[in-house]
Symmetry: C2
Subunit: 468 residues, 2 copies
Amino acid sequence: MTDTEKMLRNIDDNLDLSIAKLLELIAIPSISSDPESAADILRAAAWLFQELVSIGFESEIIETAGHPVVLARAGGTGKAGRLLFYGHYDVQPIGERAQWSHAPFSPELVEEDGKTRFYGRGASDSKSQLWTFIEALRAWKAVKGDFPAEIVILLEGEEESGSASLPAFIDAHREALACDVAFICDAEMWSPTEPAITTRLKGLVHERVTVATPNPELHSGLFGAVAANPIRILAAILAGLHDDAGRITIEGFYDGVEDIPAGLRADWRELSRQTALFDEVDLAGGIIEEGYTTLEAMWGRPTIDINGVTGGNQGPGERSVLPATATARLSFRLVPGQDPDRIRARFRSHVEARVPKGCSVSFHGDGGNSAVALAEDSPYLAASRRGLETEWQQPTRLIGSGGAIPLVQLFKDMLGAECVVIGFILSGDAIHAPDEHYDVERVLRGARSWVHILKELEKLQKSTAAKI
Amino acid sequence: MTDTEKMLRNIDDNLDLSIAKLLELIAIPSISSDPESAADILRAAAWLFQELVSIGFESEIIETAGHPVVLARAGGTGKAGRLLFYGHYDVQPIGERAQWSHAPFSPELVEEDGKTRFYGRGASDSKSQLWTFIEALRAWKAVKGDFPAEIVILLEGEEESGSASLPAFIDAHREALACDVAFICDAEMWSPTEPAITTRLKGLVHERVTVATPNPELHSGLFGAVAANPIRILAAILAGLHDDAGRITIEGFYDGVEDIPAGLRADWRELSRQTALFDEVDLAGGIIEEGYTTLEAMWGRPTIDINGVTGGNQGPGERSVLPATATARLSFRLVPGQDPDRIRARFRSHVEARVPKGCSVSFHGDGGNSAVALAEDSPYLAASRRGLETEWQQPTRLIGSGGAIPLVQLFKDMLGAECVVIGFILSGDAIHAPDEHYDVERVLRGARSWVHILKELEKLQKSTAAKI
């Protein structure tokens, strides 16, 4: 039995224990955007710290202005260079509890559709993701007594709320984080049987806008015919953000937007023909920007999404009220060429110009991140591709994503590191939604994938070394 | 000292006790539209029952399919005919508690702006209103040992949620409710020093609409560019309800609408010149239907008001979600010629035609009431007018209202009774809004007004009797 076979066997044999531990982690409600979850964020960080120590990493929990980072390091006698693995242990809010049919933070194994599933916020995004590389590294160390390379593990606690503290953290730890390649493990597979590497990621800007009238709440019967209604004003603004062709109407919104490269466009059109992506998602009623295919719109075109709206009577009874304020929460998904600050400023000007005189508008939000287009011709990417193919026995697709991973651009800019974005999320996992779930098989095969990738990286280093 | 002077003196002398009792009533959170308030509704009914018994009424608490009615009757040796007094003891929901700077259900006397005020939901609308006629009748009985006429008092418990049980109640109690004139005490003064009688009331239809996409919640980054967003669909529908001239775009909405009579229009234009109505309300940003003055729009033109909207992320953190549903709560204020059921049906067709195929829409709401235009030349109205003028020493204005009093049409139709709508609410009372309030002086002068009105009614009956 080769070492590789022993490592894979070790992962297979350890599966029950590995899953039991993962469910412990998912049970911790580490919601980074909710101030009331601060203690749980710390619990999750401490839990990961202990796991990493137990498999031989020098680990630290490092405070930031936001939530702490878990940073773990180990030397290695192997030849795969210096590798960084990134994951995030924070999760999205659960939304409305009543919409979940499983408890969001009490995961259990459920046999369903031929899978052994578990439900919970963070089950897919992203606790199972970071667990795959931790489990692979554990197995490697168990079999070989050492790691294949110098390893840095960075586990973030505020990815789901915008990674605001990360730039300062990276800046303060440039030396510790220096690496040849950073693996960002928080992304999708192409299908349940086909692996993928994500090479294009959208940028993300969150923004909250509140329209206020000059009055407190009024009786809508008495004053509805004559006084301003902030919901009516807000609805007009929201409805006017797109034209009939599905294009965004904000002046200058598309300034600097780079067109999707022709080669990528051709690849994506090819993928469009064979996607199972929409087996679980119904696009009825969706408006796709004119001139683009579904995948092009998803991966290559900027969007505005309305994530929430609130104003006036929220029930349970009816109330004849003219509200004083109405609020919308929006997010912008950016493509290469768009600057988060400039987009936010243009949106605010657009809205301000549409709020009637005498009424007022306030905005909440800052920061955000730009889109990323990664190299598609690097040896690290090629090695990762081969590693994935060894496990899945299917070609690895190069895909885009509408999701944002703020860290990728930071790593490129601040560490000069090459980034490879790999993950095992599926579009049917209900991430950010009620009943988020994952399955045991993907935990197993994810961990096994990382063993194959590490093996390919070793070969790569050897051949590079041989050339010198 | 005449009997009238004795009665007024009695009211003046009893003021502290009367106010103390009224504050007890306001402290009961009798929110008719909230199922959790059922016990408080009953408490309020029982409290009123006991008060009415204590001043000599035969009283009953009568269950309905909704909330109970308090019905009280007394014979009278006076000559003022058979009189019915109507009030409602239920209140609107409080909305968001944080927007109140006074506790909604713990009223206390506060010296403010030269007034002795008290704050609370129902302080103005309508517990102080019903209290004025109860206090006047108490004083009359105390001085004269009897009432000036046969009196019927009807206190309703679901006015603020649409009076759904009232038609059946009236039908079942036609004999007990038979009267020469019904005084509906739930309306506004023209200004803090000028009394009014309301002769035109709008109808009211409440409606809730929920747009749903074919999917559960989705990740807005992944699917926002291609899948339906129910908030975007709803915003477009809400924004499209009015055209640029402020007219409602629903097909057939204005069918049958009677134009405001020329005489009334002239009177209202005259009143427009001297209104203090907007000293406390700022119309900036409001859109008044083209071709109409402010008072004409308020009192004589139908409206759609958006009372609430809810969808997707409600906070506290940001969440990249594509919601599954979005809901708006609307109310329609109708004028003579519009039928509630027909308006609701036309609205639903309008919305259904604007929801994309594959998405769905559901509606919640039924019933509603039509607008009312009352006679402006009746002897009861003339007598009431004189009574008010005796107390306030100012002309009584005939006004309209955007508010609805469903009962008026029912009384006209089912009992054939003449209705006179009188009240002492001011536009600055913040009814249906946070920090609703009222003042002691208006409780006092309201009660005194009813003594003068009863006196005028006695004269009226005497002169009628003399003629026969």
